[in-house]
């Protein structure tokens, strides 16, 4: 046993001496790159140790993060989800506010352009029945609203007030099948009557056979109905069908997107019909 120990010691001693010599030589000799060989070898060896250590740490971190640390990930995930939801809500609120501001700005522009006495009103409810196309606004008789007052939006005519209450009013949309308005084709000044179809289309009737009607023509209010002021946009002609010389069917696509309405203007300026009604009373 003792012999084995001695032999082992001799081996260690030999190894130590050899390594010592190699280190000694390396400290004095430059490598081809000009770096002292000891530095190059030491750095090379140590960099491998560092690489190994780094790999080990990376593996450990990966294992820890992917398996052991999942509890923290779950908590973080939940927190992030909550933050995301909150941010989405805030974003929606901001977007809604921006849209509303934009709508109000357009409405203000319309008010200034029209030169009419109007009041801005917010839509607070839609139609109670699918068979009737109405909506409810937040202004009523206390605000000066009366029956048959025109309701307009920046993009065009919306409808008319049919039931004013003290603080709210029901508005019949132009697309309702009971609604109608005097109209004219802006390009040819041909007159007719737009009638609601109950869906998102209007029908233009009573157009003269001699009139020139084409798809894409702009249809505006003529003002002869005594309700809607003259010159406001109703929509664009998208279908024209003729039966001989007579117009069989003219379809108008409303300029207003009724499903996206939020704010409207109620025209308070007395129309001839309104004035006649008041005079009769």
């Amino acid at each position: 046993m003792a012999v084995v120990d001695i032999k082992q010691r001799v081996g260690y001693l030999f190894l130590a001496v050899m390594v010592g010599h190699v280190i000694l030589i390396s400290a004095q000799v430059n490598s081809k790159s000009g770096v002292p060989m000891l530095e190059a070898v030491t750095f090379g060896i140590f960099s491998e140790v560092q690489r190994g250590t780094s790999s080990g740490v990376s593996v450990f971190r990966r294992v820890w993060n992917r398996y052991v640390g999942l509890r923290a990930v779950e908590t973080e995930n939940n927190r992030l989800k909550a933050e995301l939801s909150e941010t989405q809500v805030q974003l929606q609120q901001q977007k809604a506010m921006a849209d509303r501001a934009k709508g109000l700005e357009q409405l203000l522009g319309l008010r200034d352009r029209s030169g009419l006495n109007t009041t801005a009103s917010q839509i607070i409810a839609g139609s109670a029945s699918p068979d009737f196309r109405t909506l409810t606004i937040d202004k009523g008789s206390v605000d000066g609203l009366r029956t048959d007052m025109a309701v307009i939006a920046p993009s065009g005519v919306v409808g008319r007030v049919v039931v004013p209450t003290v603080r709210a009013a029901k508005v019949q949309l132009l697309v309702d099948h009971n609604a109608a308005a005097g109209a004219l084709i802006e390009r040819t000044r041909a007159q007719g009557v737009v009638i609601g179809s109950g869906e998102n289309r209007l029908r233009l009737d009573y157009v003269s056979e001699s009139s020139d009607v084409a798809v894409g023509d702009l249809v505006v209010t003529s003002g002869i109905d005594g309700i809607y002021p003259k010159g406001f946009t109703i929509g664009y002609i998208d279908v024209v069908e003729k039966n001989g010389t007579a117009y069989k069917h003219i379809s108008v696509r409303p300029a207003v997107d009724f499903s996206r309405l939020e704010d409207v203007l109620v025209v308070l300026t007395p129309t001839p019909l309104h004035q006649a009604t008041q005079g009769g009373e």
Binding site: V10, L13, V17, M18, V22, L24, I25, Q28, M37
Partner: protein, 168 residues
């Protein structure tokens, strides 16, 4: 061999080597330090051979103004292996001793040249003949030295005994 004896032998070899180097110039050269290391290794074993090779080689390197450690490495290796050979085989006759010295010298040269080439320290032309000549000279000097050292104690004893007889 005691440590002091080893140090003395190495110091003597270095002294003679450096002294001779001033006078001996030419193709024939001898490495007395290597001879001393092989001698110590043969008489004292691998560990002493290893350490003496290290000590002598490093000192020689430092005196020779070359990369310190190359000669030390070569002499350590040679001393260690020679020490093992000395303990494993009977190397008491002149011829085996010559062979050991010769092979040790060749190995020593091979290691130095090999390290020189490896580290790109200098160019070596055809070092075989000088290396073999030096190895032969080293071997010759080594064998003679061993024989002399072994004969020296007996000669001293015989001289003492002869003086005693004359007095009587």
């Amino acid at each position: 061999m005691k440590a002091a004896g080893v140090i003395v032998a190495l110091a003597l070899a270095l002294t003679i080597q450096t002294t001779l180097a001033k006078f001996v110039r030419g193709p024939v050269s001898v490495d007395l330090v290597l001879v001393a290391v092989v001698y110590v290794a043969l008489t004292s074993g691998p560990v002493t051979g290893l350490l003496s090779g290290t000590l002598a080689g490093v000192i020689q390197d430092s005196l020779a103004a070359q990369v310190i450690g190359i000669g030390g490495l070569a002499k350590s290796l040679v001393g260690f292996v020679t020490g093992i050979i000395g303990t494993q085989f009977i190397v008491s006759q002149p011829l085996p001793r010559f062979v050991v010295f010769f092979v040790a010298s060749v190995a020593h040269q091979a290691i130095i040249i090999g390290l020189g080439v490896l580290l790109d320290l200098r160019t070596w032309g055809r070092p075989y003949a000088p290396a073999l000549v030096q190895a032969a000279v080293n071997a010759l000097v080594g064998v003679l030295t061993l024989q002399l050292v072994e004969l020296l104690p007996g000669a001293v004893e015989r001289r003492k005994m002869a003086k005693t007889r004359l007095r009587r």
